[in-house]
Every structure is written in structure tokens, then in C-alpha cells.
Amino acid sequence: MEFNLPENTTLIADTARRYLKDNYSFEIYRQQLEQQNHVDASRWSAMQELGWFGLPFAESSGGFDGTLLDVAMVVRELGAALCLDPYVDTVVAPGKLLEYIGSDATLAMLSDVIDGRARLACALYDYHAGYQVLRPSMKLNGKRLSGQKNFVPDGGVADTLLTTALADGELLVLAVPVAACETTRYRALDGGRIANVLFDEVEITDGMILARGKQAERALSMLLTYLQALDCARMYGAAGALYQRTLEYSKTRKQFGVAIGSFQIIQHYLVDMFIDLQQLESMLLMVAVKAESEDACRRERASTAAKAYYSDKAVRIAQQAIQIHGGVGVTEELDIGHYFRLVTHCSLTHGDRAYHIKRFAELDEVHPGE
């Protein structure tokens, strides 16, 4: 085994970190919180120039053949910078779904994503179905699509939704223009824009159906593990930032005439955070490598375990970061509380802890080390 990041991946991560350091900040984040969409034209085109748009996709799909690990390193940096630019929601997620389907039509759409011309988002969840993405409550009756999707992370910009429905019990993936739906956009816990979308007898033409049956299921299931891994990457970025800031704070903040980091209880809190962060790093590397495996069982074991673990330990790190910061940690002024919300947010997307624990318990066994 070998845990060194490939040189190219390190380069991608370093570039992302430097780019965000120079072009993003807590102040920009706070302005973005107030905006109705999260796309800043100049940053958006810069990200495209950095190659991020093509990164997640195979060369044969017109991409730059990056691995999930490469993408995870970018997303980790986005998390570490609290950046709200909807890279995952409007580039990676819809793009991977199109690529996993892999038809001529979807690959043509994917090239628009890579070129930055498309404004897509994935509308996979509704509150009736919960995390059961393969069993949506929306129905296609004949040519009419009716139902709703919630928690649609469209960044406030999508004009086309990749969505799911059942037609006579068969799962479909469809591309539907946002204009055909009734949309309510609002702010999510992490500060991003998400939407409720109502499909009221929307007319569906054959060309809007991108995949069906097993093909649709396989593509969605691969997408989910990919996105679960990226949830972990984003949480890792945030948890790492929280740890660093808390450690520094404990060395400078004085109470009773001494730095609070000189108290044994604070020291043990920080050591626990540090050790957990090491384990989170291991799980991130693990899931970033395994969650795009061809083998469904291996993939799901990895992403389900990682997501369950993160929803426990990253959340705990975020809670302790606030506790150690004291009053200032619960204000909007300081980034600590914003990272805290980001971590909570990611712990609830694409399956929460209870969901993943249960799922892991149901997955098949393998011999340890395999």
C-alpha cells in the first residue's frame, strides 16, 4: 500500500489552495450568503481555466481524466475555504451522472458542462422518499411528469434539472427545463441556495429521458458513492480548518492569566480532535480511492462507512471547536460557527449517520484486508 498523493494530485490541491487563498475569503463568503446565486463570473471562469470542470471526467468523455481523489482534494480545499461556489452541485454531480449513463446524448450534454455552457443540477431527493434515491416518489404517467423534488442544490443558477421518476415501477433519469417547473429557491444550512421544485403535469418528450431501468440505477448508485466521498472531503477541509484555528486560539487566548491551552482539559480536548482528524484523513483517502471502484459492494462499503464515520467525528470536532472558543464561537462574526454549520449540513446530505450505519450492517461481509 502507498498513501502518498500522486504528484499531479498534490499539484491540483496546492493550486486550489493557492487560488482560493488569493481569490476567496470569509468576507466574500459572507457576501455570497446574501446573494441569490453563488456564481461569480470571474471566479467561475477562473475555475474552469484551472481545469476543474473537466477534472472529474474521462478523456474519452472530453474531460481531463482526473480521479475522484483529485476532485476530492479540490473539494477539501473548497471546504477549508468555506467556499460556496457550486462546483460540486452544478459541475461534478450532474456531469458524473451524465458520464455514468454514458449515452451519446448524455455525453453531448457533458461536453457542455465541461465547456461551462450548461447550468445543470441534480434533483434526486424528495422528503417522502428520504435517502432512497432509487425509489423516488415522482411519477411519469404517459407523457406527464408529476411530483416534487426537494433539497435541490442548484446554486440558484440551474436552468435544467437532472431528475428521477418512476414509470410503471421502472426508474427513469430525465432532463427537465427548470422553466417547466414551479421553483422555490431558498438558503440551506451551509449557506448555499437550494430549491423545492414542483412538477405539475410537465410534458416529457422522449429526448428528455436519459436513462431507464438498470442503467439508471447503476448510474445513480455510482453517483451517490462519488458524492458521499465528496461530502467527506468537504467536511475534512472544514474539520481541519476548525482544528487549526482552535489550536491557535488555545495558544493565544488567555483566561486566568494564562493561555487556555495550558489547561490539561483543553489539551486533552485538542489531542482528541487531533487524533480524530488523523482518522478522518485516513478515511478520506480510503473513500476517495474506493468510492469510484467498479465493484458495487466495495464502493458502497467504503462510502457508507466513511459517511457514517464523518457524521460522528467531524461533527464532534466542530462542536468542540465551538466549546473551546467559547462565546465568540457562536457568533456570525467568526468563521468557526460557519464551519460548524457546513459540517452539520454535509452530515445530512446523501445519507445521515443512522442511514449509513443501517446500510453498512446490511452490506455483505468480506474478509478483512480485502
Binding site: G130, F151, T184, N196, G327, T344
Partner: protein, 386 residues
């Protein structure tokens, strides 16, 4: 040993429940049912309603306008108040400066300030914490210099809850910097409309404005606004810390939160594993039961005129930990429904949609009023002799 309410207490409970049923304003009930904050207007409406009924200053002696209830009755009242969906009353006037005034204040001070508190007409805030005096309160720096007929106050307070609502602040200030830290502190009452006071909002991570910074620049405070003598501030602050512990555990509101959570789970869409969810809630209910009976012991001791026993020492620590656990369970059981921040529509359940607001807000409850770590330090020293 008697762990039941008496017949009289049960009747009292029923009468309070009936009153709450009839009198808690609908707009308050609506807020509470979904977990929305009551703003200043609703809070005041509610407190004045209680004030009119004589049910605001529950712990006060009858002569100052208290209802003359036992601790058990106050406990029952608080429970029924919470279960009816009414908010806790602001502690600064009723639970804090009021008892200070009738214990340490002059007759003039009592006459002047107590009626406004007991009726809910005057709103107070607490000026204790400062930027560099959080857990280490005694190191506060805001100074009050004595001039002919007034104190001249300069400095800064922080984390001042409801300073933007308040008419008055009670405040710890340094009147003498030549003596031991604790000895140089005095307890002043400051009119928030006095020139030289600037209140700046601090937004909390629940998105709301509860807290403030308060700046004092040459603020003139009349000498008669000093409570007790100069240098008595620390004594008064300590008196308050140990004053009322019968509701410090937040048992009533935890009951209400758990009942909201159960309701949300019962109504949740089918994807939620309800048996699993109910077991998670059962664990919280059992912890609450342990806290509640510990709290009952303190209530009963109070009614017997006994000092607080050792059981009371953990009430705040356990109570705040439980509030955090309940709110975290609400967020996590809500799953994606908890992701909405300012959604104008309901997605599944309003309760879950607003769950993270309270979860975020409550991160502070193990910090303010002496962090749980500080409390444990104190207990180790005082109770365990370590």
C-alpha cells in the same frame, strides 16, 4: 418520602394548565410549535400578561409582588408553561436584578425599580462579560470613576443578551483598581438611554440577534444607582450564582422539546425508521427523567427551607448537555428536512425545518454563565476537596 404531587398540587397544576390553554396567545403557540424564536414584541406581550396576573416574579417574596408559591408550585408552573408552548421569561429582571435589589438595595431603589420588573414593563440586561473577561469574570476592566454626583463609566461589555431591547442594565464595573481584583468591583444600574452608550449587535449562528456589544464612553450614572457599597459587586454576583436552582436544569423546556420531537417523528414520512427513532428518543427521555428527579430533590429541599444539597451541583451541567443532545437528535432525525434555513415553504415538517436554529443556538448553553469546564473545576474544589 413522597414522589407524587399532593392533591392540592395536582389541582394547582390543572388550574395552571387550564389558564395556559386559555391565555397563551396563539401567535406564541404557533412560534413554539415549529421552533421559531419569539421576538421582542411577543416576549413582552407574554411577560406583561404574566405580570398582570401576578405570575411573573415567581420566586419573589409576596411583599414585592411574588405569588407566594412553593418551589414545587413554581416548578409545576414552569412545566405547564413550557408544555403549553410559552417561552421562558427573561431572567435578567425577575431572576437576577430583582432579588439583588430586594436583598441589597435601598428602600428607594426597591420602590423605584421593583414595580417595573414585577409587571414586565421594564426590560433589563446584564453587563458582566467583557472581551478579555469571559470565564475569568473577575478580571473585568470597565471602570466607573466617582465624580461629584455621578459615576463616569468607560469601557466595553460583550455577549450582552437583549441589550438592544433593554431599558436598564445591571452592570459590574471596576471602581477601584488598587485592591485585589474581586474587591474593586461594584454593582451599578445603568439606564440604557444615557448618552455615551452604544449598542452593537452580534448575530448568533442561529441567524438571530440575541447578543450585543455595549460600549460606554463617559457615561454618567447617578451615584444612587450603586447597589450596596462600592466593592460589593463580587459578593452580589456570587449571591446570584447560587440563588435559584430550581429551574436551572431546563427540565420543563426539555420536556417540551422532546414532545415536539416525538410529534415530528410520528408525522414524519415513511422513510424514517420510527422504531429506531423512538429508541433514540427513549434514551433522551430516560436521561431527562434522571435529571428531573434530581431537580425535584432540589425543589423539595427548597420548600423545606434547606440549603441546596450536592444533587443541585450538577443540574446546570447535565441540563445543558441534555438540551444539546435533544436538539442534535432533532437535527439528525430530521435528516435532509433539517437542511432548510430560510425556506418559505414547509418541507415535510416545520419542526425539522427549523431544527438547526435551536441546535446552533444551544451550542452556547454549555458556555455562558460559566462554561461547564469551569463549573467542573469549581465542583472539584468545593465539593470533592481536590
Amino acid at each position: 418520602m413522597n414522589l407524587e404531587f399532593t392533591q392540592e398540587e395536582l389541582e394547582f397544576q390543572q388550574s395552571i394548565r387550564d389558564w395556559m390553554q386559555a391565555n397563551v396567545p396563539d401567535d406564541i403557540k404557533r412560534c413554539s410549535a415549529v421552533g421559531e424564536m419569539t421576538g421582542k414584541e411577543l416576549q413582552q406581550k407574554w411577560e406583561r400578561l404574566l405580570g398582570e396576573r401576578g405570575w411573573l416574579a415567581l420566586t419573589w417574596p409576596k411583599q414585592y409582588g411574588g405569588p407566594g408559591w412553593t418551589a414545587t408550585q413554581r416548578y409545576i408552573f414552569d412545566l405547564e408553561r413550557a408544555m403549553a408552548g410559552a417561552p421562558p421569561t427573561s431572567p435578567f429582571g425577575v431572576a437576577m436584578v430583582g432579588p439583588v435589589l430586594y436583598t441589597f438595595g435601598s428602600q428607594e431603589q426597591k420602590d423605584r425599580w421593583l414595580p417595573g420588573i414585577v409587571s414586565g414593563r421594564t426590560l433589563w440586561c446584564q453587563g458582566y462579560s467583557e472581551p478579555n473577561a469571559g470565564s475569568d469574570l473577575a478580571s473585568l476592566k470597565t471602570r466607573a470613576e466617582r465624580r461629584d454626583d455621578h459615576y463616569l463609566v468607560n469601557g466595553q461589555k460583550i455577549w450582552t443578551t437583549q441589550a438592544h431591547w433593554a431599558d436598564m442594565m445591571f452592570c459590574l464595573v471596576r471602581t477601584d483598581s488598587t485592591v485585589k481584583q474581586q474587591k474593586g468591583i461594584s454593582f451599578l444600574l445603568i439606564d440604557m438611554k444615557t448618552p455615551g452608550i452604544e449598542v452593537r449587535p452580534i448575530y448568533s449562528i442561529d441567524g438571530h440577534h440575541h447578543l450585543n456589544e455595549v460600549y460606554f464612553t463617559d457615561v454618567r450614572v447617578p451615584l444612587e444607582n450603586l447597589v450596596g457599597q462600592e466593592g460589593m459587586g463580587w459578593t452580589i454576583a456570587k449571591f446570584l450564582l447560587t440563588h435559584e436552582r430550581t429551574t436551572i436544569a431546563g427540565v420543563a423546556d426539555s420536556h417540551h422539546e422532546i414532545s415536539r420531537l416525538k410529534k415530528a417523528v410520528a408525522e414524519a414520512p415513511g422513510f424514517l425508521d420510527k422504531s429506531q427513532a423512538r429508541q433514540r428518543i427513549a434514551e433522551l427521555e430516560i436521561e431527562l427523567m434522571a435529571l428531573e428527579y434530581t431537580n425535584f430533590r432540589t425543589v423539595a429541599a427548597t420548600d423545606e427551607g434547606k440549603p441546596f444539597g450536592p444533587e443541585s451541583s450538577g443540574l446546570k451541567i447535565k441540563g445543558t448537555e441534555l438540551q444539546q443532545k435533544v436538539s442534535q437528535a432533532m437535527v439528525e432525525l430530521g435528516g435532509m428536512m433539517s437542511l432548510t434555513w430560510d425556506n418559505p415553504e414547509t418541507v415535510g415538517s416545520d419542526i425539522f425545518n427549523r431544527a438547526t436554529r435551536r441546535y446552533n443556538f444551544l451550542r452556547a448553553c454549555t458556555i455562558y454563565g460559566g462554561s461547564n469546564e469551569i463549573q467542573k473545576n469549581v465542583l472539584a474544589k468545593m465539593l470533592l476537596g481536590l
